[in-house]
Amino acid sequence: MKNFTKLRDWSRKNATVITSLAVTIIIIIIFQIINPSFLSHEGIRASIYAMSYFLIVACGLTFVIMMGSFDFSVVSLLKLAALFCVVFIDRYGLFVIPLAILLTTGFGFLNGLLVARFNVPSFMATLGVSIIVEGIALYFSKGRLFLMYNEQFRALAIKSIAGLPAIFYWAMAIWFVSVFIALCTPFGRRTYAIGSNLVAAGLSGVNVVRHRILVFMLSGFYAGLAGVLYMGQLGGGSVRLGTDLAVPLFASIIAGGTALTGGTGGPHRTLLGVIIITWTQTGLLMLAIGRDIQMVIFGIIAIALAAATVDRRRVKSVK
């Protein structure tokens, strides 16, 4: 009897995780039934490719949302890093990689500065920064399509190791490190603190300004990393890269169980959300359901999830 109550309490506490897991399994089963090749070698490969770069940028964004803010610029930063690599690889060789990531981290710093020092609401600040980033991306890509010929660069992402592409291992490693940071380190703890109660965090000795800037920089860093690997995976692109990433990205973080109110969730949760969203994307694609309907579905899912995960205890009025 005691074991049963323990199990019941545990499952109540971890309700979101269990739900996410259940949804994941159900989705996989449904898609597999409808299209038997879903779980085939090809199918899984497609899902892996959809998931990997996505997971990386989602991990970065997760930290920001944990902290109670929002980073609208990650998509543009991902695009910037990707384009930067493909446009300048001939000039700088593989050196473009650290340069691109440095660039996106720098913009993350700008985001952090605007939010933490100048008190700009995060969605507005990151929106403004993303406009600038778009401008820059347009500036040096001039709207043209570029192709990545550098074999070494591409190998970083698509080299096959034990049947799976390298980018998968990157994503898993980065995810693992992110979970570690979030759950086990003081840095992660402070991030949760700020998201849970900003004033209390300051009163508890957290250097709130500095930490927020660092987290935005981290998000920029992840976006850059994801962009670099994404370019390796794609092999080319133009300024129109990734325009439909924003909503699925956001949906996957919330689906995993990291609420917009901040202070909860984390990268470990985001993995499940990413799997749900990206594997659903792939499954829908395999059913020849176009991007358009996908947008509709994800839009509705995002709204429903946002409504479901708001922590009513903490917000009296939402704007």
């Binding site: 380190t185 402070r190 209390a200 009163l203 957290v206 202070g263 922590d311």
Partner: protein
């Protein structure tokens, strides 16, 4: 009570319980007569606001009766109904809509009187606004934005609005408006309060006021009758027929301790050491406190005593880094602190700040263990400081729970579910572990039960023994006697005198 007149408004035996646990009001009876000022005093959590909200219709009581002009009436269902009977509330905070102009704010909610096809009849609104401001001797331009007005002027306009609300809703000219003022002077500086009091005395000719406050001198000066609330009950009542009441009398009634309890003293020898860890010189903030100077030694606790509004709270918050100061200096171990340094900077120099309002300070959706550890991260790290050790975190929490007798199933319990006293203990516990050089205490035991209080006092005394210096601000004289080595009596923003605990005890027993 005046027997010959009928009361304007009366409630009897009002009871209100929240969540079937918290008894906010118990058998409260209360009355208001025309053209008088009724004072309602009590600690935070005593039930004052709850009673007012019931009078004004924000929520109904669980039981009780209400009489209007002598006849029994149902309790108002919403503020509109209350206004129809002549009762209106000026809330403690957030009553003012800053971005509206004065005339817009005055008539906010009453626009039906002024609508036409061409929009609102602003000319008429302005005219009527000028009329009422003139009548009440409030000097301001109806076109100004509310944010352009000084704080006391804003309050006056709020009161004008309340009076206006009653006049517009209550069509019976015989009914005197009852305006409830909930802590109207709390945000005001000492000089600004004069303006408010002058106004109320003049306005008394046409209205009645219920003055809710915990600033005792003000109530004594202006109220015709006083009700003292404690733990949801009316524990005392004074009117012109009772003998001259003093501040200290009311104090005791609010806090609820008999004279004999003041004899409690610490048995141990002094914990005060020689070294000065905090030096404050001529600290000044215009409107709040002036020329505050003292030296704080290790292991010493200085109490800042005074009635609410004396400036003691502002001094402590300035030292904590939450408020700015205009002049003077704060020196901690040789470092000079600037005004409004963020609170985490103060912590770097060893100044910790603990406020009894636990919502501000605790992460309520976190476990006890996490709340303790966030302040003490450096103590539970392993692997060269990289990783948090959950085992050590748990151990630390268990140790503190044991020392402070925190009642919870385990360290992983969420703080949401703890009682007020236990939440306070978690806060104290985390500071106990942190051992800052200086701990600033603001109302550390407010609103919690006796048992929890004793446990917290024990912990604080032990911290003192270990050399931690403290500054205490509180409403409970017993706390000062228990914890402080010296007590600074603050009045109107200045240190009147610094006394020893014995002298203090004598002071408050004076009758």
């Amino acid at each position: 009570m005046p027997q010959n007149e009928a009361s304007l408004l009366e409630v009897r035996n009002v009871r209100k319980t929240f969540d079937s646990v918290v008894r906010a009001l118990w058998d409260v009876s209360f009355s208001v007569y025309p053209n008088e000022i009724v004072g309602v005093v009590g600690e935070n959590g005593a039930g004052k606001s709850t009673l007012m909200k019931i009078l004004v219709g924000v929520f109904p009581p669980d039981s009780g009766e209400m009489y209007h002009l002598g006849s029994k009436v149902p309790f108002p269902k919403n503020p509109r109904e209350a206004a129809r009977r002549g009762v209106s509330l000026v809330p403690q905070e957030k009553g003012v809509v800053m971005h509206l102009r004065v005339y817009q704010f005055l008539f906010l909610g009453h626009e039906d009187e002024f609508t036409s096809f061409w929009g609102l009849k602003t000319r008429e609104m302005k005219r009527l606004a000028r009329d009422i401001l003139k009548e009440l001797h409030i000097d301001c331009d109806v076109d100004s934005f509310m944010y352009d007005l000084s704080l006391p002027l804003q309050k006056l306009v709020e009161i004008a609005k309340a009076i206006l609300t009653v006049r517009l809703r209550c069509k019976d000219p015989d009914i005197t408006p009852i305006i409830i003022l909930d802590e109207p002077t709390a945000p005001l500086a000492v000089e600004q309060r004069e303006q408010l009091f002058e106004f109320i005395m003049k306005a008394k000719k046409t209205s009645s006021f219920i003055f809710v406050s915990h600033i005792i001198p003000e109530i004594l000066n202006f109220a015709d009758r006083i009700y003292v609330l404690r733990d949801g009950k009316v524990v005392a009542y004074h009117d012109s027929s009772s003998q001259k009441v003093t501040e200290e009398d009311i104090f005791k009634e609010i806090v609820g301790r008999s004279a004999s309890e003041y004899l409690y003293k610490t048995a141990t020898s002094s914990t005060v050491r020689d070294r000065v860890c905090l030096s404050v010189k001529n600290l000044t903030k215009k409107g709040y406190y002036y020329d505050i100077s003292f030296d704080l030694h290790e292991g010493e606790c200085i109490g800042l005593f005074g009635t609410a509004g004396s400036g003691k709270v502002e001094i402590v918050r300035t030292l904590a880094g939450i408020m700015d100061f205009d002049d003077g200096s704060i020196v901690v171990d040789g470092h000079s602190l600037k005004g409004m340094e963020a609170s985490y900077v103060g912590l770097k120099y060893g100044i910790g700040y603990f406020s009894g309002e636990t919502g501000k300070e605790l992460f309520l959706n976190w476990s006890i263990a996490r709340n303790i550890s966030i302040l003490n991260l450096e103590k539970i790290l392993k692997w060269n400081g990289l990783v948090i050790s959950p085992a050590e975190e748990n151990e630390l929490a268990e140790e503190i729970m044991r020392k402070l007798r925190i009642k919870a199933p385990n360290p992983q319990t969420e703080c949401y579910s703890l009682s007020g006293g236990n939440k306070q203990k978690v806060s104290v516990g985390k500071w106990m572990e942190k051992s800052p050089r200086i701990l600033l205490l603001e109302d550390p035991t407010i609103g919690i039960d006796v048992g929890a209080r004793e446990d917290i006092y024990e912990a604080l005394l032990e911290m003192k023994k270990n050399g931690i210096a403290m500054i205490l601000v509180s409403d409970d004289p017993k706390e000062y006697l228990l914890l402080c080595d010296r007590i600074a009596y603050i009045k109107s923003g200045r240190i009147e005198k610094i006394v020893s605990p014995e002298e203090f005890e004598a002071m408050i027993r004076e009758e």
